[in-house]
Symmetry: C2
Subunit: 322 residues, 2 copies
């Protein structure tokens, strides 16, 4: 397998510019191939920016990773941040790659194919980026979107009495990650869990229907418990939470059953879901249920601080550095 | 020394939000601390975006790196990309950090201080970012600026007869990097070279004076020879280059003399300079010299392709993957 060091930076850049360059289209005035890219932001809209990474050994292992799917996940988790602000419309992204000299060129080319395919599917042109040599493989994607400033939904707007709710599967992706990390082949019935890990669904449409109604919103990528705690801390409020309405997929229930672990606790602490967590004033709850039928109710915001969760023991969410 | 793993992600994020968060100011509608940041782009201006990284073992070694200065370099090299597009006005940036669990917390806090200080100095608010665990320390900065679309200067506009010129020191930063990598202490007379490495000057003001006159422009961070070749390839033209007008600092001449290496060849192949390389139609050359007195002339664009350099042997520019 020819390593990227044989292709050299010039060779890699040529294929990158061929894939992502060319004259500007849509919001792109100038794409990949110059010192920077230039993008047209629609008048009257705010620019929404975020950055999220995938690092080998932390977020994925090459042994169980298809680079095509990894590229898709990188795009999807960043789109999820645009969703969490109120469903910002994607404009473009830039991607930095840190590549070990020994990385097979074919691996990187497959990553680029995945990036191109998901970029088209999600209407998110890759407008530029950077290549570095790095003994540890990593990708850092910066995403740009736009939305009317009044549609911006922050983490800090929950008021006492507001209903806490979520949308999107809970726990599937974390189980999928454990299946990938495991030594055994993934049985057919469990493959949807693995798919949830690689293909978290950015909730852009749901977020747009919630914007204007939700008093606070974020994505729940760090696990439901920790995300609820973050929303509480950002809003300076507390939450009384019940777990009985959280949706549980059939494969997840089966997987938890086989491993004799508590489904509810796993859903609380799993992480990787990239669904939305939000609050709405009680008067808007019926409208929200109608606009986004898949929402599930988690509880209510309280005057006092702190999060009380019924029907679960204490345990920790995902902590990146431990 | 307490490692970052002891502080934990939550503790690190708290100090990051304390340093960079808070209510929006200037173009920042919503800064660090939410799923994404929101930025106001002035009406009628194009958004200019770029991303550039610093990876341990590739761009720096911890043994000779002050994290405060590293943060400054990260900001400056990205500002240089805004300059190279025609002097785009900085709006904000986001920063992703990949941190080994064993990294001393004090090291990272000093990096954050440097980021905050340089962010203020250059009017470039840090609007967000990401923290990941990574066995290899890296930083990826995405920068956002704005400029009127008609001020955009690409790499591809050189026409036959245009004068090829540059601005900024050439070779100093590369010598500074070699001094840092060396085993010996840096003598007093050579410290300006090290400073050029850590503090490359983003040529925003010069670039603004060149925009509207320059037919093509880029920064010369990959070495003068390679940058000239890139500009030639992007424009589909050639260049006839002479080296006699390139400025050479006294410490660089002394350093090259001591090592018995050719000053001109070192300047051609050094890299790390982050000066500007550009072309202007001959009729505008006098005006450019008046507007930016420090410019030096390198040659002319030719009809035929390829770069001919007088007064130097063949050698290679910086190749990231070899």
């Amino acid at each position: 397998m020819r390593p990227v060091s044989r292709a050299g930076e010039a060779g890699l850049l040529r294929s990158i510019f061929k894939t992502f360059g060319g004259p500007g289209r849509g919001p792109i005035l100038l794409g990949s191939g110059d010192d920077a890219a230039a993008i047209r932001v629609p008048a009257g809209r705010a620019l929404v920016v975020s950055q999220d990474d995938q690092v080998e050994g932390t977020h994925f292992q090459r042994s169980w990773t298809d680079p095509y799917r990894l590229a898709g996940r990188l795009i999807r988790i960043n789109l999820s941040d645009l969703a969490a602000m109120g469903g910002a419309r994607p404009l473009a992204c830039t991607v930095s790659a840190g590549l070990p000299a020994s990385l097979p060129e074919a691996w990187f080319r497959r990553f680029l194919s995945g990036l191109a395919a998901h970029s088209r599917r999600h209407g998110l042109p890759v407008a530029g980026g950077n290549l570095s040599r790095s003994s540890r493989l990593f990708f850092s994607l910066a995403i740009f979107g736009s939305l009317p400033p009044r549609s911006l939904v922050r983490r800090s707007g929950a008021r006492p009495g507001d209903i806490l709710a979520g949308v999107g599967p809970v726990g599937d992706a974390a189980a999928g990650l454990r299946l990938l990390r495991g030594k055994r082949p993934v049985p057919g019935w469990a493959r949807p869990l693995v798919r949830r890990f690689w293909e978290p669904e950015p909730r852009l449409n749901e977020a747009r229907r919630l914007a204007g109604r939700a008093s606070s919103m974020m994505d729940n990528s760090d696990g439901l418990r920790r995300s609820i705690e973050t929303l509480a801390a950002s809003s300076g409020k507390g939450f009384a939470v019940r777990l009985d309405e959280i949706p549980a997929s059939r494969p997840l229930a089966r997987w938890c059953g086989q491993r004799r672990i508590s489904l509810r606790r796993f859903q609380l602490d799993g992480g990787e879901d990239y669904g939305l967590l939000f609050t709405v004033p009680p008067r808007d709850w019926a409208a929200v249920q109608k606009a986004v039928p898949a929402v599930y109710r988690l509880g209510e915001a309280t005057v006092g601080r702190g999060v009380r969760i019924d029907g679960s023991g204490r345990s920790r969410g995902f902590e990146h550095f431990r």
